[in-house]
Structure formats: C-alpha cells, structure tokens
Subunit: 162 residues, 4 copies
Amino acid sequence: MSGRQVAVVGAAGCEPDSVAAQMAEEVGRHLAGAGVTLVCGGLTGVMEAACRGAKEAGGSAIGIVPGSEMSEANPFCTHVVATGIGHARNLAVVSSGQAVIAIGGEWGTLSEIGLARAIGRPVIALRSWTVSGRGSMEDAPGVRAAETAREAVDLALAHEAP
Amino acid sequence: MSGRQVAVVGAAGCEPDSVAAQMAEEVGRHLAGAGVTLVCGGLTGVMEAACRGAKEAGGSAIGIVPGSEMSEANPFCTHVVATGIGHARNLAVVSSGQAVIAIGGEWGTLSEIGLARAIGRPVIALRSWTVSGRGSMEDAPGVRAAETAREAVDLALAHEAP
Amino acid sequence: MSGRQVAVVGAAGCEPDSVAAQMAEEVGRHLAGAGVTLVCGGLTGVMEAACRGAKEAGGSAIGIVPGSEMSEANPFCTHVVATGIGHARNLAVVSSGQAVIAIGGEWGTLSEIGLARAIGRPVIALRSWTVSGRGSMEDAPGVRAAETAREAVDLALAHEAP
Amino acid sequence: MSGRQVAVVGAAGCEPDSVAAQMAEEVGRHLAGAGVTLVCGGLTGVMEAACRGAKEAGGSAIGIVPGSEMSEANPFCTHVVATGIGHARNLAVVSSGQAVIAIGGEWGTLSEIGLARAIGRPVIALRSWTVSGRGSMEDAPGVRAAETAREAVDLALAHEAP
C-alpha cells in the first residue's frame, strides 16, 4: 500500500519571496515531517516552494507536469510524472491527494478547486481566492479555510485517503 | 475552414423546467439562428437543454462526453466526441469554443471557468456562481456577466475565434 | 440521436500525392456519400486528405486536434474539437467512431490501433503497418485488412455504433 | 533534480506465475538495485509483478492508474498518481520514463509502444508482440529486443533522461 499523499495547488507565477511562497514551503515541510508525500503540478511558484520545503525536510515530492518532458519539473521534485496532456493534468494532481491544499491561486488554481470538488476531494483554502477580492469559495461545502500552513496541513491530514 | 463555435457549460443536474434550463435552451436556439455550432459536454441538464434548443432550430450541437461510448450523449447532439478521459474533457469543451457561456453551475462548471480563463478564452456568466451565493467570478478579467440568453450570445459572438 | 461516425487515422507526414493520401480522400468521399460523419485527428497528411474528400462530397468532418487552438485544424474540417491534451487525443479520435479505418501509418497510428482495440472498436487496416515491413496487425482479432477504400468503408459500416 | 526513472508496460491480465510476470518482477528488482524509480500503470499482471520486484528490493514504484481513486493501485506501489483519464494515462506512463520496457503485452501495451515512439522514447521489447505471432515491432527504429530482464534493464539505463 502506498503511503499518504496530499496535493498542493497554486500559482506558477507567485514570487519566491511572497507570503504565498513562504506558506507553500512551510506546507511542504510539515507534510514531510508527517511522513506524507506531497503531490503538485511540478512547475514554479507555489509548486516549487512546496517541493523545496518537502525535499529539504527529507520528504518526497511528486511533480505532475503538463508536458511530456521530465526536465520541465522544478529541481526539488523527487519524482516526476510527465503527462503530455497540458492543463488536463490538473485533474491528475487533485486526484492524487487525499485532500487538496490551495494556496493563493490564479485561474488554474480555480480549475483545480472545481475539479477536486467534482470528484469529492476535500479542499483547504489557504489565502486562496480571497486575497484578490474576486469572491470566496471558502464557505462552499467541502472547502475549508485555513489561516496558517500548520492549520492547512492538520485539516488535510484529518481526511482519510479515498 | 470550420465555422464559428461557442461552448456552453453548466450543471448536468439542473432540472428540465428550471430557469437555467430555459436559458440554456434559448442560448442554443440563438446560436443555431446565427449559424454557430454549439459545443458542450453532451450530457443532461444545461447541456441537454442547450443541445435541444440548437437542434430544434436546425443547428449543430457537438457533445464532448467523458466516457468512451458515444451512446452516453444526450439525444439532441448532432455529433458526438467520446473522449474517454472523464472530467479532463472539460478542457476540450472550453478549448473548442471561441467563447464560453457558463449557465448556473456546479463544481464542474467552476473548473470549466478556470480552465477557459487559463487558456485565454472569454467567459460569459449567465446567472453562474452568483445564484448560489458562493461568490462571483463575474468581475474577474475575462469574465462578463449577462442577464439574458440573448445578451450572452451577443457577447460570445463579439469575440473572434482564437 | 447523433448520426453514424467513422474514425480515420493515419500519418500526418504522408505526402499529398501518395497512394495513402489518395485512399484517404476516397474514404472520406465514400463516408460522405453514405451520410456518415468522418472523425479524425484534424491535422495534415492522411487526416487532411480524408477531410477534403468528405467536405468536397458535402459531408461532415470533425477534426480532433491535439492543441487548444482551433486554428490548428486543416481547412477541410467542418467542425473542430480542440482538446489541449496532445497525443492523448488519439483516444478521443478512436472512441468517436463506430469503427476505425487505419491508412498507412506511423507510430501515432500504431498507438491508435492499440487504443481502438483496447476499448473494443473494430479496426480496418488499409495498407497499414504492412507497407513498412514492420509486421502486420491484420491477423489479430478485431483487425481486418482491406485492399481498397470502398472495401474499407463497407467493412466499417457493417459495424453497429457502440 | 529527480532521480532516474524507467517505465515498464505490459498486460494487466498476465498470470502471476507466467514467464512474463517473472521477468517483470526481475526487471523491478534490477531497477531498484540500480537506484532507479520504476513507473508503470499501477494495476495487476505485469504492472504488479514489476512493482513487487521493485518494492521488495527497497526501491520506489510509481503507479499511474486510469481512475481517480488511489486505491485502484496494486499494493506494491510506493507512490500513486490517480489520473482520472482512463487509457489516456498510457501517455503519462511512457512519458515518465527515460526508456520504456515492454513485457509481453496486449492491445494497451501496443498503444504504449506507439505512444512512446511518437514522443521519441526508446523502447526495449522483452518478449513483447512476438510471442503471440501477431508480428514484431522489434526491428523498427527505436525499438530494441531483449532476451532477459537483465539485458532489458541494461539497455534502458544506457539511455539518458530526456
């Protein structure tokens, strides 16, 4: 049986020194500390920060990248799944976690929240889609807001693997 | 060169006599009247209502279904693309229209709005994600609200095919 | 209910004046003459020749292209489904026909024969994978060889839609 | 940077005590011994045997399953990517290895050989598509035959990661 896995989603365009990146790195660190594999889209921004946190804490980080070349992944992925299916790989990312932590986020992140809920995965929103003022998904059934990385990971780990 | 195509997305679970279904049918009728092919997910609810409107007005309706069996499509699809890729077919639906009209909507619809914007397709929201009180995408760049089926189709047709 | 659909697969790199292209065009023409919609990958070579045959005979040709831009399709597609999932769209192509006609072919064609059989679609091989001397799939269960475009279409239309 | 990865493909229906299963297990063991991560489709037959070999030798085995539930994976996968895209996940499997080892095989395996070559991955055929008498891919460019598990792994590891 494979171990526990949690998906982390968020913007590729997020700045390395932003609050979102810091939170993502902390999420990765906490997951590694709990012996949980991090799964993400494998690119830059939130994804890279989360992988860095996981790897530096000795954990596993699987990057599920959109293209068919493994070299597309950020250098902190310990494993890479190259899908070749572009944005459709968002479905694979959210399907591969027992819960999904969304950090900040752009349109791709919104699609991942929608896909996660469509297949019944719980979503923990960490400053996602509220910072921008676009409106909040956080009160919707199956979506919980978290204020800190620690709280987000605790909420994610409270769910059983599907 | 293929003709113009507009994607219509919305909940499979919408009731046949709901406002959303009536609007979807009217959208389908207007698209057919303008000689524009309707593209959708090919299932029930908003999708079926839109296809019925299009077909009864003599237009074309392509249903892009999640499974690998063409019989999964609603009976008003004039053409069927069976994808076999489940929810990932949402990407194909929104990619296949010069614009996307979102009517009402559940989580799958939210994912389609996110995917549409991620690849740069304009979205017209027709009572989508405001009815439920979950928050509105409508003020976000690239998303326009419409009040009527007529207005939604006019906004969609104002965009050039990508 | 949608009408009958047959998938045609073959190499994008096939020369316009090759035997394979001539056969593909004739297949498209025969399908249109029978009132059957042609489904293909929407690109050049065998795909374009088949679409040209179908369109010039007044039929419908759906191009299911790998990218997310509809403009990627050849000019003889009457409808376009832009999938955004790259080579994975091969599954959608073969799933969308009641039978699959393979003409000539390269590696992508071989993958389509494999995928078609994996989901139970009958395959008609028209000088496919025998020309090259690589070995023949034609004696395998579910794969029938045809010598002419006419015979290939007749064999394809003898199958019921799934 | 992630470590080296090799994809192993073959029939789900292969018997546990067959030659194919024994070879698959040995391939998994050799990959683990070389510190290389095994990537496969995560189901039964050849896939399960390869994962068992890898896991029992202390290696990593990533199962890329067709459905959206991680529990679909065989118990020897150390990590699971649930794709939700059905047979289209075959593209992700072959894209995620620097080389692809095909063992025995049914139609799905044939599709994986085609997809692997379509994106330029080298294929090592280990009693694949010759046993059945259907014809051999082994003389095609980019496809090499191997007689033993050891030889297959050596040929696979001679290729650089893409």
